[in-house]
């Protein structure tokens, strides 16, 4: 019984293989199209990621050869590293808040800007993209949130009598998380935003005319029934960019709130990773942290993808 089942399974597998082979031969030219990208991608993106995941199962201090230690890094992360759990919590809070809000803002602003005439639109896009194009631009927030009475925010709030004494926005654990959320949101008009701008211009204009005939009354109906269903691809792209940006917050917290921040109040996974990788030279451990972040992001992407495919239906 088992033997026949197995042979049937084997025959089926062989048939599938033969089918795939013939399919592959039929599409020979397409493999040639893909080849240059696949080669470079394999060597400089895929291989480094693979090697990093391998390192996560080793003790690797960058100087000595890596030593295989199985799941020890992962066990230590969850059972022996209190700070990691804080970092995980902070990262999830940041991602859950800044991810969706940043994503929706990016789309709405792109949609609003798309209404403007050509050259004005290009300029306004630049203005809104400025936080991303001008490198470490978020450092200007340090001026606003300075803890003495000369900091912009403190000065304004004191002048209007809302607070009596200057607040330590960047060192008081009560304020740090909201401050970082504001800064991250401010930076969220990035790659996804530009993709939306480009995507809005590729939508077939005749669809809007057809919509007008069918009785679409205002711009919001137009958005929901015509624009969004025709932008599924860009919405997915924007979502992946938003996931990347909201889970990988690290530079901002490090530069604004200090490294480490007070009581680890805004210590994120990326901060934790840089701590172990660049300061303690425990690259194996850092790789394990990166791998956990990676898996979290993949699951989020799958979840978000399911949600996006329902838009407009």
């Amino acid at each position: 019984m088992e033997g026949t089942n197995f042979s049937r399974y084997k025959a089926k597998k062989m048939r599938m293989l033969a089918y795939h082979w013939s399919e592959a031969k039929k599409h020979k030219v397409l493999y040639l199209f893909l080849l240059p990208f696949a080669l470079v991608f394999g060597a400089f993106v895929l291989a480094p990621v693979g090697i990093s995941i391998f390192f996560s199962f080793t003790y690797f201090n960058v100087l000595e050869p890596a030593r295989f230690i199985g799941f020890q890094n992962y066990l230590n992360l969850f059972l022996a590293d209190d700070v990691f759990l804080i970092a995980l919590r902070n990262t999830l809070i940041l991602a859950v808040i800044t991810g969706p809000i940043g994503y929706i803002c990016a789309f709405l602003f792109a949609w609003f800007i798309n209404e403007l005439p050509r050259y004005i639109r290009a300029f306004v896009t630049l203005v809104f993209y400025a936080p991303t194009i001008s490198g470490a631009a978020f450092l200007v927030w340090a001026l606003i949130f300075t803890g003495d009475e000369m900091g912009y925010l403190n000065a304004i709030l004191i002048r209007f009598g809302i607070i009596q004494e200057p607040q330590l926005w960047l060192t008081n654990p009560d304020f740090m998380m909201p401050v970082i959320i504001v800064v991250v949101l401010w930076m969220s008009l990035g790659a996804g935003f530009l993709a939306f701008i480009a995507g809005l211009s590729t939508i077939d204009e005749t669809l809007y005319e057809a919509g007008l005939m069918d009785g679409v009354k205002n711009r919001w109906q137009e958005l929901w029934f015509i624009t969004l269903p025709n932008m599924q691809g860009m919405l997915m792209f924007g979502a992946v960019m938003a996931i990347m940006a909201s889970f990988a917050v690290g530079q901002v917290t490090q530069d604004l709130a200090g490294f480490p921040s007070t009581d680890y109040a805004v210590h994120t996974i990326v901060n934790h990773l840089v701590d172990y990788g660049a300061i303690r030279f425990e690259m194996g451990y850092a790789s394990a942290i990166a791998t956990i972040l990676f898996v979290t992001m993949i699951y989020t992407k799958i979840l978000v993808g399911k949600f996006i495919s329902r838009i407009g239906t």
């Binding site: 592959a24 039929k26 030219v29 397409l30 493999y31 199209f33 893909l34 240059p36 990208f37 696949a38 470079v40 991608f41 060597a43 400089f44 993106v45 895929l46 291989a47 480094p48 990093s52 602003f109 609003f112 800007i113 209404e115 005439p117 050509r118 050259y119 290009a122 896009t125 203005v127 809104f128 400025a130 991303t132 194009i133 001008s134 470490a136 631009a137 000369m150 790659a191 530009l194 993709a195 701008i197 480009a198 995507g199 211009s201 590729t202 077939d204 809007y208 919509g211 205002n218 711009r219 691809g233 860009m234 996931i243 990988a248 990326v270 990773l273 990166a290 990676f294 992001m297 993949i298």
Partner: protein, 311 residues
């Protein structure tokens, strides 16, 4: 009345249709737009615009501040006595360096240009194949590209260095240029846009006797021009200030950001005595990406090329 108008209204319909086309091209008011809504949008964009333009305004003002204003306490956003000294100091400094300034500019422009052109070609070819056809491995490959996008770049820096060292590319332009070809974000973006090109268009071209290469260059590429321009912005932005250029340490081959960093320090390790020059550098380094950005953005137009084709 309507009976009489019967014939002419058809004509008129045609004319309004044409007028509508023109209107769309010139980006004048579309139907379904209320005036109050338009005003609200302009108002919203103005309010938030200042908020987002803050770093640009700051960088430009900072570059023209004299020394006493740069270190003024409390700090001011706008410059009071603008000076050109920072910029002229920068040019004097650069004209004195033993590797000429133009050499650094050439290095940066060369890396950015070759990297971007290569990336756009390689990524769009791959994206075309994966997007328009399903063949064994195509879906898996695409998923792999998206997934690897999410892995922390900090950790992969070491394996990346080891691979480049094995290839012997450390301290050459190729260490920066070749890896940038496979920038996964550009591939992902282009694939999503090529998905919107109707397959019927590809098939009808094939019936007319066009090969894959011809379809790719003549039909698909012009239709995804907005995506190509956007991918170009990402690529230029990534390469112009590419941190991976620290794998190049021969002085004559260094890129502009790293050459300038030696003079003024990085944002994290500023050189106090040259804070003015540093502010000028921050502004000068933004000029090229910003010009390219504006040119690219103003060329993102409704192509209307795929209107009238229904799946």
């Amino acid at each position: 009345m309507t009976k009489v108008m019967g014939k002419t209204s058809l004509r008129q319909g045609e004319i309004t249709q044409r007028a509508k086309r023109k209107r769309v091209n010139r980006n004048v008011r579309r139907p379904n737009r209320s005036l109050s809504g338009d005003i609200f949008i302009v108002f919203l964009l103005c309010v938030f615009g200042f908020f987002f333009a803050f770093p640009l305004i700051f960088a430009i003002n900072h570059a023209f501040k004299p020394m006493n204003e740069l270190f003024m306490f409390p700090p001011r956003l706008f410059v009071i006595n603008p000076t050109m000294n920072n910029l002229s100091d920068l040019f004097i400094l650069m004209s004195r360096s033993w590797v000429t300034f133009s050499r650094y500019v050439f290095n940066t422009v060369f890396i950015t240009f070759v990297g971007t052109v290569g990336h756009l070609m390689v990524a769009s070819m791959g994206a075309y194949a994966v997007s328009k056809y399903t063949f064994p491995g195509s879906k898996a490959f695409f998923n792999l590209v998206i997934i690897t996008l999410m892995f922390s770049g900090f950790v992969t820096a070491i394996p990346n260095f080891l691979i480049l060292a094995q290839l012997g590319w450390i301290d050459t332009f190729w260490a920066v240029i070749i890896p940038s070809f496979a920038f996964p974000m550009g591939f992902f973006l282009l694939k999503q846009f090529i998905d919107t090109v109707p397959m019927s268009l590809v098939e009808s071209a094939k019936i007319d006797g066009a090969g894959e290469w011809r379809i790719y260059t003549r039909i698909v590429m012009p239709l995804v021009k907005p995506a190509m321009l956007t991918a170009m912005i990402f690529s230029v932005q990534g390469l112009w200030n590419n941190p991976q250029a620290n794998l190049i340490y021969t002085e004559q081959l260094k890129t502009l950001p790293f050459a300038l960093q030696q003079i003024v320090g990085s944002p994290h390790t500023p050189n106090i005595a040259r804070a003015g020059v540093g502010a000028a550098v921050a502004m000068v380094m933004m000029i090229v990406p910003i010009i390219l950005f504006i040119v690219a953005q103003s060329n993102i137009l409704s192509t209307m090329a795929n209107s009238g084709i229904k799946e």
